[in-house]
Symmetry: C2
Subunit: 312 residues, 2 copies
């Protein structure tokens, strides 16, 4: 191996930053995706723009050879303009996180939605690998979807595609904080499962607690079964309208594995009388998906295909 090649394998070429309400996680990777440097800082919601500016200066001072920066955020992200349109818990609206990180360095940047970037990463390195189309669905406090169609992530006309947490799976059902009724996440998010069990029993044991009570507590069984039914209804809607090759279920609740996925598959099969269901699998990258997605955006920002050759 020539000295120059060896250097390019160990130098930080791509930087990925995952901005969340709790922390800002970043990673610098070499051309082949290996981690060269990484870190995490607590988010200061009111001054997160200034945090990104400082973080960009810090990373660029350590890694002079960076060729691209990707950054992913929650909320509504204008991925064309690289601008945050709306973010619930962070003072980011109107800001351009990519420019804050790049400063006046001229390094190419790309800004993405955290959920879609996680889907992008699952497609490159995880459970979506090899699928021409798939829908990645992280289930945690809320539920969203990243639609990988026709070779790319589809963000929607108003950058709001994938807000499936608020689809009316049970019309005129239980009220949701969003102002609508019968929303998927009322029944099937970790928060929804915990809330519905607490409403029935007076005990707040969390979604994990409900999972532990399955088979021993009929009320836990019922709450869990309703969550699976709600999820299967949404997957049926997506199957019939979008027809993806695969569903990839992620987020905290996916740690339940087949305890969740088996009843979802079974309900989905029952809802699709005349066609086969797409496969329903668990995500593989966990919390790392966002940073991997941000790194892939960094490579894409520079017009590179490095990210297509990465493996974990």
């Amino acid at each position: 191996m020539k000295a120059q090649e060896a250097a390019s394998r160990t130098c930080a070429r791509w930087v990925g930053v995952d901005v969340g309400g709790t922390s800002i996680k970043w990673r610098a990777a070499s051309a082949d995706g290996a981690t060269v440097d990484e870190g995490r800082v607590a988010s200061h919601p009111a001054s997160v723009g200034e945090q990104l500016r400082c973080l960009g200066d810090f990373i660029r001072s350590r890694h002079g050879e960076v060729r691209g920066i990707g950054v992913v955020c929650p909320g509504v992200i204008d991925e064309v303009q690289g601008r945050v349109v709306y973010a619930a818990n962070l003072e980011l609206a109107g800001l351009r996180p990519g420019e804050l990180l790049a400063g006046d360095s001229g390094i190419p940047v790309r800004v993405g939605h955290d959920g879609r970037a996680a889907g992008l990463a699952e497609g490159l390195l995880g459970a979506g690998r090899g699928a021409r189309s798939f829908v990645m669905i992280p289930i945690g406090t809320g539920i969203s979807a990243a639609l990988h169609l026709a070779g790319g992530m589809w963000g929607g006309a108003t950058f709001c595609a994938g807000e499936i947490g608020h689809t009316p799976v049970f019309p005129d059902g239980e009220p949701c904080a969003c102002g609508q009724r019968g929303c998927l996440e009322v029944y099937a998010s970790a928060k929804g499962i915990a809330r519905r069990y607490a409403a029935a029993t007076g005990q707040d044991v969390g979604a994990r607690g409900v999972e532990r009570l399955l088979g021993a507590d009929p009320l836990a069984d019922e709450v869990w079964a309703t969550a699976a039914k709600a999820l299967a209804l949404e997957l049926a809607h997506l199957t019939l309208s979008v027809d993806p090759e695969r569903f990839v279920i992620g987020g905290g609740l996916s740690r339940a594995g087949d305890t969740l996925l088996a009843p979802v598959r079974s309900e989905l099969d029952a809802l699709l009388a005349w066609r086969d269901a797409p496969s329903v699998t668990a995500a593989q990258l966990g919390e790392e998906a966002g940073r991997w997605g941000a790194l892939a955006l960094a490579s894409m920002a520079a017009g590179s295909t490095d990210h297509e050759r990465w493996s974990r």
Copy 2:
């Protein structure tokens, strides 16, 4: 104008064929989309393949200068291989309608799904014009959708995208002929509206008859309102998951105009508490959409951009 240019404006350059259960409609158009020749023959479901072979010979003998042929069919169409996978009322499964029409002429062909081709046409010449993304929904005996996303029609992993007639808008609702329950088209197709009114009153007046009774017959009002609610629920699902810029409602039932679209818009607004609804407009091409779509496929088969300059 040079003689050659004048000739190319009047010669048949593109041929579009729309294969349906009742009739096969075709049109030959010049480079600028003007009709040069057209026709319609009754479908013979059991020998439709042979019909297409004869029709191809006939058209090619009349128009020696044809440069591309597009053909659209109902059912499940493998648009990559140009092959019919499944068609309910026509003996077409396994056949390649494009090759039947082209014979040994070597003329480039492209085969499409009739609903998606109609959507393609509405995007080029009709109610989808100018939208970066839209969903076209023809409502007749059944209900389907054509998803125009990211610059093209999305057909799905198994060429079954857009089967929204069988989405479970009312979980565990009324049974559908497909074997599922609560399907959209049970409530909101022309057939479903007629059937539900007949079930309530014993009178089969058709969907048009139910429309005429609105305001005078509370049962007609109720059936119509439920259809609008079912449609709005499906549009809410599509808005939140796919986020299109526009909905284009076509098919026979769309002739009801705002009698249908106004309550659908109002229900959709009510279902979307926290975001604006996409616009909901009526299709413009009517029954001609299929043939226009087939003509566009003919132009695309030859790698031409003629179709991008057509107007009605």
